[in-house]
């Protein structure tokens, strides 16, 4: 996967951005579906469903939040390149982006559990 010419921070940033974006796109319909279902379910049963109690759902949601944060910061990298015209291929920006993504995910994880 990471052949010689790919061994640099911006390539990893691109790869993360793309993978996160693709997974988010695939997740979206599922997200809407579950949301719609649970709302209907909640209304129908007139009670609350603690659906985040299911460990698998919890894990999935955590991963998704990380992906969302990663894709967002990756997008900021792109927009900085394209609109601010950052010339320096700053590894710091990439590192900060990844850091934020993990932090947000962790925060979510801590709160959920």
């Amino acid at each position: 996967m990471f052949r010689g010419h790919r061994q640099h921070a911006h390539y990893w940033a691109f790869a993360l951005h793309r993978i996160a974006g693709l997974l988010l796109a695939l997740f979206l319909p599922a997200h809407f579906y579950v949301l719609a279902l649970s709302i209907e379910g909640a209304a129908a049963m007139d009670g609350f469903i603690r659906w985040t109690d299911a460990p698998l759902v919890k894990l999935a949601e955590t991963v998704l939040v990380i992906l969302l944060a990663a894709h967002l910061t990756g997008g900021l990298r792109l927009m900085a390149l394209e609109f601010i015209g950052t010339r320096e291929s700053s590894k710091a920006a990439v590192a900060i982006g990844t850091g934020i993504a993990l932090a947000v995910g962790l925060m979510f994880l801590l709160n959920v559990t």
């Binding site: 974006g21 809407f32 949301l35 909640a42 609350f48 985040t52 109690d53 969302l68 967002l72 959920v112």
Partner: protein, 117 residues
């Protein structure tokens, strides 16, 4: 060359929607992190959104932006990494856009109208 203008416009839409999504995602993440304190429940969501026009508008914008943003992104992946022809990719992505819109609005309307508004 119409292709040139199409790509340039898709690029503009992609970036515009990205900018909108950037804000939406931050709000969304903040709400989730805030909301999950003490556990995320459907009730909690419904209570917040149901009948609230501002949240309805927010999530509508969110869904529309996603419906623009995601298919354009996936389109590039399909074009580059699958043998699908550009025409086929276009059709698949148009469908994907409609699916997101339909399912997204079904959820939003469900939320907005939940609790018998």
């Amino acid at each position: 060359m119409p292709g040139a203008a199409v790509e340039a416009k898709l690029w503009i839409w992609q970036r515009l929607s990205a900018a909108v999504l950037g804000i939406c995602v931050i709000v969304h993440l903040a709400v989730i992190v805030y909301a999950v304190q003490g556990g995320l429940t459907a009730d909690e969501i419904i209570n917040r959104v149901s009948g609230n026009l501002a949240w309805f508008a927010f999530y509508s914008v969110f869904v529309i932006a996603v419906a623009i943003h995601a298919p354009i992104g996936v389109r590039a992946i399909l074009n580059e990494m699958t043998p699908l022809r550009p025409g086929a990719v276009h059709a698949v992505m148009a469908t994907f856009c409609l699916i997101i819109l339909a399912m997204g609005f079904r959820a939003i309307i469900g939320l907005y109208t939940a609790g018998g508004v």
